[in-house]
Each structure stands twice: as C-alpha cells, then as structure tokens.
C-alpha cells in the first residue's frame, strides 16, 4: 500500500538516504531508529508531503504522493511531531477535535463534530483532563493530546516523529501497546521514529534502522543490540 521507489533524501546538499526501496502493507507498526542527525525526521517529513521528493517516488495505493490534493493527503496520512504547542487559551478537548478538520464542511466548526473522541482520550488516559487549558497541563499530557489529535484524524497511515519524548515510562508502554493494537486491529500503517529502542522493540512489527544513508531491516533482537 505504501511504497518507496528509489527514494533519495537530501538535506541542503548532504545526501541522507540513498536508493531506498521498500513496500509496506496494512497492519504494520514500523519502529524507525537512528542517531541524531541521521535523517529520520527528514524522511518522515518527506513521507507526509512536507518536503518534496526530489529523486525517486513515494506511492500510496499505486498513486504518487505528489498527485494527492491537500484534502486527499489529509484523509490518508496523519503526522505527529514532538514540537510543543505555543498556545494557552485552548482546552485539551478542543485541541484534539482539530484533528477532524479535514472532514469538515465549509460552514461547520471543529467544536461541533460527531466522532468517537472519548474512547481515544480514554485509551491515552487524558479523559479526566480534557477540559483543562493547555497551560494547566504538563508537557507529557500535552503530547498525549497531540497524539490523540492525530488518531482522531482517522487515517490509514500514521507518521510519528518521536511521540514519546515527553512521556513517562508507563505512558510510553501504554502508547506503544495502543499503536500496535491500532495497526493490527484497524489495519493501519504506523511509522514511529523513536529513541526508546528497547521498549519499542517489544511492540513493533518491523524495525528500520537508518545508518550511513541506508535503512536496514532488522528483526527484534537486532534493533537494540545495534546500539
């Protein structure tokens, strides 16, 4: 379903990834590892269309990502990064609801939508704080809200760039378990870059390690013995 064809990724003039070919099908939780600056984030940004593909191509359902309109893209891929949100005048629940924006008709507001948000809030353990404002919660709680926001977008592909950076250990476990369940039961492709290698190795279904411009596939044990 998601296919990388001879993909080459550059940052400015430096070549980060060379000749990357791979095909992914539904029901996979891909754990992407690699040292700082190896190009994980650049790869993920290219995957969601934030950066253009210069050489090679990314295809989703046999169609080049370049050919997707903004709306089609937003119905297909959701993206989470670990940037903090610089806004304090909004409630957790309203932040999560912004994930439904791609499905809104012109005159509707994200505040009035019908989608089962509460089960997602519950799964991430932020149901009790949903009415708090962003300046009243911790960084970790805010991060859970941004993850919930992406899950609410309800796309077949979910791309996450270090979603666990601010989370405590139990929350990390809960998140990886949830991601695995979603990938397998809801037939999603979830690609998650993380430095929590040991923990993630227990939940991932595929492990990609980016080193020296090559993304090698490894099995579980390899994923963290390479560190």
């Amino acid at each position: 379903m998601l296919k990388f064809i001879e993909l080459e990724i550059k940052r400015k003039d430096a070549l980060l990834i060379q000749n990357f070919n791979r095909e992914l099908n539904e029901g996979e939780l891909v754990i992407l590892t690699g040292v700082n600056g190896s190009g994980k984030s650049t790869l993920l940004k290219t995957m969601v269309g934030l950066l253009p593909t210069q050489t090679g191509d990314i295809q989703i359902k046999q169609r080049s990502l370049k050919a997707y309109s903004a709306t089609e893209r937003s119905h297909t891929i959701a993206y989470v990064n670990s940037k903090k949100i610089e806004e304090s005048h909004i409630r957790i629940i309203d932040l999560v609801r912004l994930g439904r924006y791609p499905y809104l008709k012109v005159h509707r507001e994200t505040v009035n939508i019908e989608f089962d948000i509460s089960s997602i809030l519950q799964a991430l353990g932020i149901e009790a704080i949903q009415n708090k404002f962003l300046n009243e919660v911790s960084d970790g709680e805010m991060q859970k809200a941004t993850i919930a926001r992406a899950l609410v977008q309800d796309t077949p592909i979910l791309v996450m760039d270090e979603p666990t950076a601010f989370l405590d250990y139990p929350s990390k476990k809960i998140l990886f378990q949830l991601l695995k369940t979603m990938a397998i039961e809801k037939n999603k492709i979830i690609i998650c870059a993380t430095h929590d290698v040991e923990l993630a190795s227990r939940y991932g279904t595929q492990f990609w390690h980016l080193e020296n411009r090559v993304i090698s596939l490894s099995d579980k044990s390899m994923a963290w013995t390479s560190f």
């Binding site: 269309g49 990064n81 409630r91 609801r97 994930g99 924006y101 994200t110 941004t146």
Partner: protein, 316 residues
C-alpha cells in the same frame, strides 16, 4: 457586549463633546450630526474593528502576543510618507488647498503603509513567518523613524505641528469620500479575515502539522499579511498611526474568552476593539473638561490601565 457597544455609539453620537437633543431637530443640530458626529463615530468603529482584527491575526500568525500591525513597520512607513507630503508639499503652491492636501495625506499614508507591507511580504519569502520578520519590521521602523526625525528637524513650525497632530491620531479627519473609502476597505478586510479564521485556528498545532491536516499554510500566512496590511494601512492613512488598540485588544479578548472557535473570538475581538475606540474618543473629549485629547493619548491613558487591570486580575 453588543449592548455596551450600542450604548457607547449613542453616547458618542449625541453627547460628545457636547449634548445634542436628537428629538429637537433644528437645522443646526442636524448639520452637526450629519457632518461631524456620524463621520466621527463611524470612523472610530471602523478603526477599532480593523486594528483589533489585524492585531489578532498577526498575534496568532507569529504566535507572539506582542505582535501588531505596527510592529511590522506599517505605521513608520505611513508616517514618513505623510511627513514628506506635509513638509515637501507645502512648498508646491497648487498643493496648498486643504482639500487636495487631505487627499495627498491619505494617499501618502496608504502608499507608505503598503510600501512597507510589500517589503515585509518580500522578506517573508526569505524568513518565513518567524520572529525574524517581526525583528525586520522593528529595525525598518527604526530606520524610517530616523528619516522621520530628520524631516521634523528641517520642517518649519507650522508643518511640524501638522505632522505632530497627524501622528497623534484622530477620528475627526474623515469627510464624505474618505469615510466611504475607509468603510469600504474595512468591510472587505473584515469579511476576508473571517474566511481566514478556521485555517488559522488549525495553525495552533504548528505549521507542519496544520499542513498535514490540509491547511495551505503558506497561502494562509500570505493572505493574513495582505489582509492586515489592508486594514491597518487604510486606518493609518485616514486616522494616523494608532498603535495601542491593535496590540492590546486581542490580548483582552483572549483572556475574556478562551476558545478554539476563532470566528467567535474574532467577533468578540471586533466588538471590544470598536468599543475601545469609542471609549477612548468619549473619555478624551468629555464635555466637562475644556480640552480634547488626541486619540493616541487617550488610548494609552485610558486603555493602558484597563489592560493592566485585566492582566493583574486574571486567574491563570
């Protein structure tokens, strides 16, 4: 809020700076109402609306509560252009008619504001919409301010006074054609700004994430810059540089009404902005005192403490 605004409109129309009985329709009172009071009130409403709306958009765009139309350097550009017209224009004899000069001042303000805006747009291609663009605006403002000082220095006393008065801001300088132009541009700008509110609310999540939700972030940012330039530019051209409302009102609105529904936030923001402009005009021209404060003086003197009070009393 709407109720308060209506009361303020009535007070400002009929009682400031002196009481006119609306039911006693003499020719005199009708003339005053039609040619002085109504233009003044409409100008204040338009200015308050436009400045607070552009302030809100810029603060959200730059994620910086200190941003406002004037931080981009828009007012400095307008001031300098107006300064050149007043000081330079007086030496050319056919420009001496008051009517032509008022058109010249408005045109100069407009060109100055939009010139700087154009510069900001060009620079935004290089810097993106980060704090660097604001810094650029501030530095350009300083440079233009130096030229302004130079013009003040060489100006004769009459021109200098006119220039100083223009810089203090006023709602009383609009006559029929300029009032219609002002209202037309403000209505266009406000309708435009309402269409930008939903994508702007998504950009809370950061521009990268907003892009993956289908928001054309670059296009929206560009539109916000153009829309705020239109609103702030036209107000500056006709009323002079009024800095306070654009910066303060959006902060007040967000403290009073914390929401993700930016259309409602913009509406409240506009109501507060228009009310604030009227309050400044009313309190600056109270009939019991025998003087009239220019709008920038009353805005800072009256608006300032109100904002400080809200700042100190907020519960979070």
């Amino acid at each position: 809020m709407v109720f308060l605004l209506v009361i303020l409109i009535l007070i400002d129309t009929f009682c400031i700076p002196s009481f006119i009985n609306p039911f006693n329709d003499t020719v005199f009172s009708e003339t005053i109402l039609a040619s002085i009071r109504f233009p003044k009130v409409f100008t204040a409403l338009a200015a308050g609306t436009a400045l607070s709306a552009s302030g809100l958009m810029l603060q959200q765009l730059f994620k910086n509560p200190l941003a406002g139309p004037y931080v981009l350097g828009v007012s400095s550009g307008a001031s300098l252009a107006v300064g050149m017209v007043i000081v330079g224009g007086a030496s050319i004899s056919f420009l001496n008619s008051i009517y032509i000069q008022s058109i010249g001042i408005a045109l100069a303000g407009f060109i100055g504001a939009f010139g700087i805006l154009l510069l900001a747009l060009l620079v935004s291609y290089r810097f993106g919409y980060s704090y660097l663009l604001l810094l650029f605006g501030v530095v350009v403002g300083q440079i233009l301010g130096a030229f302004q000082t130079l013009i003040d220095y060489i100006a004769n006393p009459t021109d200098l006074k006119q220039l100083a008065l223009w810089n203090m801001g006023s709602f009383n300088n609009t006559i029929d054609w300029s009032l219609y132009t002002l209202i037309l541009f403000v209505v266009i700008g406000i309708v435009w700004s309402f269409t930008l509110m939903k994508p702007l609310s998504i950009m809370i999540l950061g521009n990268d994430v907003a892009y993956t939700l289908g928001v054309k972030t670059k296009q929206v940012s560009l539109q916000i810059l153009m829309c705020t330039g239109l609103l702030a530019g036209v107000v500056t051209a006709f009323c002079g540089p009024i800095a306070f409302i654009g910066m303060a009102v959006p902060n007040v609105a967000r403290m009073l009404y914390r929401t993700a529904n930016f259309k409602k936030l913009l509406l409240l923001n506009i109501l507060i902005g228009a009310s604030m402009a009227l309050v400044c005009d009313i309190l600056g021209n109270l009939p019991i005192f025998n003087f009239h404060l220019p709008i920038n003086v009353s805005a800072a003197l009256i608006g300032g403490p109100i904002v400080l009070l809200i700042l100190l009393k907020r519960k979070y």
